[in-house]
C-alpha cells in the first residue's frame, strides 16, 4: 500500500495528530442505541415462540418468561423499552436535524463513483481475487459502511413503525398487525446480519482498532484517516490549508495596519 513509502518519523507524527470524526451527539446516540439493542434484542427473540416458525430456542423462551413473570410482562417490558428507544432517537434527530442530520446526510451518506468501484472490488478481494488492485480512496465512511447505513436507517424505520403498530393493538386493523410482525422481524435481522460484521470490525479487527476508540473520544489519528479514509483526510488537509491561508492573510493585514499606524505615533 502507498502509505508504506512514508518515512518513519512522518508516520509517527501522523499517528499523534488527531482529527475529530464524531461529535458528542453522535457518540451518545450510538451508545444509547447499543444499550437499547442489548435490552430489546434478547427479549424480542425470547418473545418469538411460534412452533411453526421455530425462531428461538425453547430454553430461552422459558427463561425470559420466568425472569419477567410471564408472556404479557415480557412483551410489556419489550415495548416499553422500545417506545423509549423510539422517543429518544426521534427526539435526537428532530432536535439535531439542521445541525447534525442534514450535514451528515449530505456529506457522508451518498454513494459516489469511487464507492461503486469499491463495492465491485472489495468482495472479490475478500474471496481472494484481484489482490493487486488498489482500492479507490474512501470518504469518512467507506462504501461498505455506507451501504450498511442504509440497511440500518430503513431497518430502524421498519422496526419503529411495525413496533408501534403492534404496541397499539387496539388502534390498528388486524391486517396491518399481521404484516407488522414479519416486517419487524425482517428489519431486525437484516440489521443483525450486518451487525455481526459491524461489531467484529469495530471491536476486534486489529486494523480498525482506532475506529472503536473513536466511538468514545470522537477522534482518529491522521495516520488512520490517511490509510482508511483518504478522501476525507485530503478534505481535512484542504480545510487546514485554507485555515492557514486565512491566518496568514489575517496576520499580513494586521502587520500592514500596524505599519500604517506606526509612523503616525512616532512623530
Amino acid at each position: 500500500m502507498g502509505h508504506k513509502n512514508i518515512p518513519l518519523p512522518e508516520r509517527r507524527r501522523l499517528r499523534s495528530k488527531m482529527y475529530k470524526k464524531h461529535n458528542l451527539a453522535n457518540i451518545l446516540t450510538h451508545w444509547f442505541n447499543v444499550g437499547m439493542w442489548l435490552l430489546l434484542l434478547p427479549t424480542g427473540i425470547a418473545i418469538l415462540s411460534s412452533p411453526r416458525l421455530g425462531l428461538s430456542p425453547l430454553w430461552m423462551q422459558e427463561m425470559f418468561r420466568n425472569v419477567f413473570g410471564g408472556t404479557a410482562n415480557l412483551i410489556r417490558f419489550h415495548y416499553t423499552v422500545g417506545l423509549l428507544w423510539i422517543f429518544v432517537l426521534v427526539f435526537n434527530i428532530l432536535v439535531g436535524f439542521r445541525r447534525y442530520f442534514v450535514p451528515f446526510a449530505a456529506t457522508r451518506l451518498l454513494l459516489d463513483q469511487d464507492d461503486i468501484e469499491w463495492l465491485k472490488t472489495k468482495p472479490l478481494q475478500m474471496l481472494g481475487f484481484m489482490k493487486d488492485k488498489e482500492l479507490p480512496p474512501q470518504d469518512a465512511y467507506n462504501a461498505g459502511q455506507k451501504l450498511y447505513m442504509y440497511v440500518v436507517i430503513f431497518g430502524t424505520i421498519g422496526i419503529m413503525v411495525s413496533g408501534v403498530v403492534m404496541t397499539f393493538n387496539q388502534v390498528f386493523p388486524p391486517l396491518l398487525k399481521q404484516i407488522a410482525q414479519p416486517v419487524h422481524w425482517v428489519s431486525v435481522f437484516s440489521i443483525v446480519a450486518g451487525l455481526i460484521i459491524h461489531v467484529y470490525m469495530g471491536a476486534v479487527f486489529p486494523e480498525e482498532k482506532e475506529a472503536f476508540f473513536s466511538m468514545f473520544s470522537g477522534k482518529v489519528s491522521a495516520w488512520y484517516a490517511r490509510a482508511h479514509h483518504e478522501k476525507w483526510y485530503n478534505e481535512k488537509l484542504r480545510e487546514e490549508m485554507a485555515w492557514e491561508d486565512l491566518v496568514r492573510q489575517e496576520l499580513a493585514r494586521s502587520a500592514e495596519q500596524h505599519a500604517q499606524e506606526q509612523p503616525a505615533t512616532a512623530d
Binding site: 499517528r15 418473545i47 416458525l53 408472556t71 387496539q170 388486524p174 450486518g194 482498532k209
Partner: protein, 260 residues
C-alpha cells in the same frame, strides 16, 4: 407425561333442543360483545324420511384440541395449551389480535374482538373451574346436552357419559400432517341407518361449510416462514462465516495493529 387434568366436553346431540341458553350464559359470564359469540348451536334441520324423522341441533364450542393448530402459529405464545388442564387459552394481555390463529383454527371457534384488539375464544370458563364450578354453558344447559368433566377422573360426569354413550363421534382433523385430536365428544347421535344417512360425519357438517376445515395460514405468515426466514438465515450465516474466517486469520497470523 400425564397431565393433572384432562378436561373434555361431552355433548349429547340427542338432548339439545336449540334453546341457546348456553349462548346467553356464556356471553354474560365472559362479557362477550353483542356482535360476537364464543359458542353456538348449529341447526341441521329435519333429517331422515317419514316416519323416522329427527330435528338435529349440534352445539359447538372450542374443541380444546390435544394438538391445536392455532397455538402453532401464535408468534408470541399469547395463545397456548395449558400444561395442567389441557385447555387452550388466550392470554389477552399478551395478544395483539393479529388473527393468525383465527385463520389456523379448523373449527372457526376464534374471533377478533375489534374493540379490544385481541382474539377471544372459549376458555371453558377457567375462572369458574378454579373455584370448582362447571363452565357457564354446562351449568345452564336445561336438557343436559352439554357436559363437562375430567377424563382422568373415571367418575366425572364426562367419563360416565362417555361410558354409557350409544355412539361417540369426534370432529378430528387428520390431514396435511395435522392431527387435532379434539376434546369434544359428541355422543348419542341419531341412529344413522334408521335415518337413512350413510355417513356418520354427515350430520356434523354445518351450512357455512364443512367443519373441520383445513387450517389456513395468512399470506404474511407464509411469506415469513417460507421466504424471509431462509433468506435471512442465509444472510446471517454468511455474515457470521466472514467474521469467523477473519477472526481465525487474525488469531493465526497475530495482530498487525501498527505497521512501523
Amino acid at each position: 407425561m400425564k397431565r393433572k387434568n384432562h378436561y373434555a366436553f361431552v355433548i349429547d346431540v340427542a338432548r339439545c333442543i336449540d334453546c341457546r341458553a348456553c349462548q346467553v350464559a356464556c356471553s354474560v359470564e365472559n362479557h362477550v360483545p353483542m356482535e360476537n359469540t364464543r359458542i353456538w348451536v348449529q341447526d341441521l334441520g329435519v333429517q331422515g324420511e317419514f316416519p323416522n324423522l329427527q330435528h338435529i341441533f349440534v352445539p359447538y364450542n372450542c374443541m380444546h384440541c390435544e394438538h391445536p393448530p392455532c397455538t402453532e402459529v401464535c408468534v408470541s405464545g399469547a395463545t397456548y395449551k395449558d400444561k395442567d388442564t389441557g385447555l387452550v387459552l388466550v392470554d389477552q394481555d399478551a395478544c395483539i389480535g393479529c388473527g393468525y390463529c383465527v385463520d389456523a383454527c379448523p373449527y372457526n371457534v376464534r374471533y377478533l374482538d375489534k374493540k379490544r384488539g385481541v382474539v377471544d375464544k372459549c376458555n371453558a370458563c377457567a375462572q369458574r373451574l378454579e373455584v370448582g364450578l362447571e363452565p357457564a354453558c354446562v351449568a345452564t344447559c336445561i336438557g343436559g346436552s352439554r357436559l363437562f368433566g375430567d377424563l382422568n377422573d373415571p367418575v366425572s360426569k364426562a367419563s360416565v357419559a362417555l361410558q354409557n354413550a350409544r355412539n361417540i363421534v369426534r370432529l378430528d382433523y387428520e390431514a396435511n400432517g395435522h392431527d387435532t385430536d379434539p376434546n369434544i365428544y359428541y355422543i348419542n347421535l341419531p341412529n344413522m341407518e334408521q335415518l337413512n344417512m350413510p355417513e356418520l360425519f354427515q350430520p356434523l357438517v354445518s351450512q357455512s361449510g364443512a367443519l373441520p376445515r383445513a387450517p389456513k395460514y395468512t399470506l404474511s405468515e407464509q411469506g415469513w416462514k417460507h421466504v424471509a426466514v431462509p433468506l435471512l438465515a442465509a444472510g446471517i450465516g454468511a455474515s457470521f462465516l466472514v467474521q469467523a474466517i477473519y477472526f481465525t486469520k487474525q488469531l493465526i497470523e497475530g495482530e498487525k495493529e501498527f505497521e512501523e
